[in-house]
């Protein structure tokens, strides 16, 4: 079946794959960071405050990004042909 650019569409959820891959790296490094603080940090209220700040901040920021991404219709598709046509008409950057 020959490739037809006019009918070719990209699902919007592909963008979420990039976000998911980033979250894997983010979680891994967060784990490394927590391990280092717990393993080598000097025991005391300062360390516990830093751990709490890091964990609360991380949960809040991840929650914020999820809340910002949630309203989009991720099942939609984008047609590059239509997008190029709109861009050539100057409709993309208003």
């Amino acid at each position: 079946m020959p490739f037809d650019f006019a009918t070719f569409v990209i699902p919007v959820w592909y963008v979420l794959v990039v976000y998911a891959l980033f979250l894997v790296v983010f979680t891994t490094y967060t784990g490394f960071n927590l391990y280092h603080l717990l393993r080598f940090g000097a025991k005391g209220p300062g360390l516990y405050a830093i751990l709490a700040l890091f964990l609360v901040g991380t949960v809040l920021l991840v929650g914020l990004t999820v809340a910002l991404l949630a309203p989009y219709d991720w099942s939609a598709t984008i047609s590059p042909a239509d997008t190029l046509q709109q861009t050539s008409k100057g409709q993309f950057f208003l």
Partner: protein, 192 residues
């Protein structure tokens, strides 16, 4: 976890005299960097909101911008905290018996070394620049008899006082050690 009340190989009469980290400029610069790097795009988005709000409504460009912004924000948070961890785990512990030097280089490189007070030959404090002089912070170099063994406490508060404290501890250590030797010779348990 490092227990300050129970250091590794701690002697019965050993106690911590100084616990040092780089001074507050080190972590303040991380916070300023984080605020600056999040603030600039936020201000730019606010200033051009009439355009940005339209872009965010596009079915593909909107999610793309939002995912990019999310990745940027989370990356900044993570890198800032990794930098903070690097700062936080760099510590210098001075007891009445030894100097412990712990340095963290990134996440996967860590160097811990110690030096007994008896091996200290020279202690130097160094304050450079207007800011260092004004806020009284700088480096302290602890040199041993071995040519290449040198501990460097980077950007610590009150370097002159730290130097004086180490010199006093070295003198006390050597004096008590000399007394022990004299007592041992007198007892006949040791010969000269």
């Amino acid at each position: 976890m490092l227990h300050l009340d129970h250091l590794p190989n701690q002697k019965a009469d050993e106690h911590i005299v100084l616990f040092l980290r780089r001074q507050w400029f080190a972590w303040a610069s991380i916070i300023v960097g984080f605020v600056f790097m999040t603030g600039i795009p936020a201000v730019a988005a606010f200033y051009f909101w009439d355009r940005v709000s339209v872009w965010l409504q596009y079915p593909f460009v909107g999610p793309l911008i939002m995912v990019a912004a999310s990745i940027y924000l989370l990356s900044l948070w993570l890198f800032s905290f990794l930098e903070f961890t690097d700062y936080y785990l760099d510590t210098w512990i001075i007891t009445n018996d030894r100097v412990i030097n712990i340095e963290q280089f990134g996440l996967f490189n860590r160097k811990a070394s110690e030096l007994h007070m008896g091996a200290v030959q020279d202690v130097t404090s160094k304050v450079t620049g207007i800011i260092g002089t004004f806020f009284d912070y700088g480096d302290v170099l602890v040199q041993t008899a071995a040519e290449h063994t040198q501990f460097k406490f980077k950007d610590v508060d009150h370097p002159e006082k730290v130097k004086e404290t180490i010199i006093r501890l070295v003198e006390e250590y050597k004096a008590s050690h000399a007394k022990e030797v004299v007592a041992a010779v007198a007892d006949g348990t040791r010969t000269i």
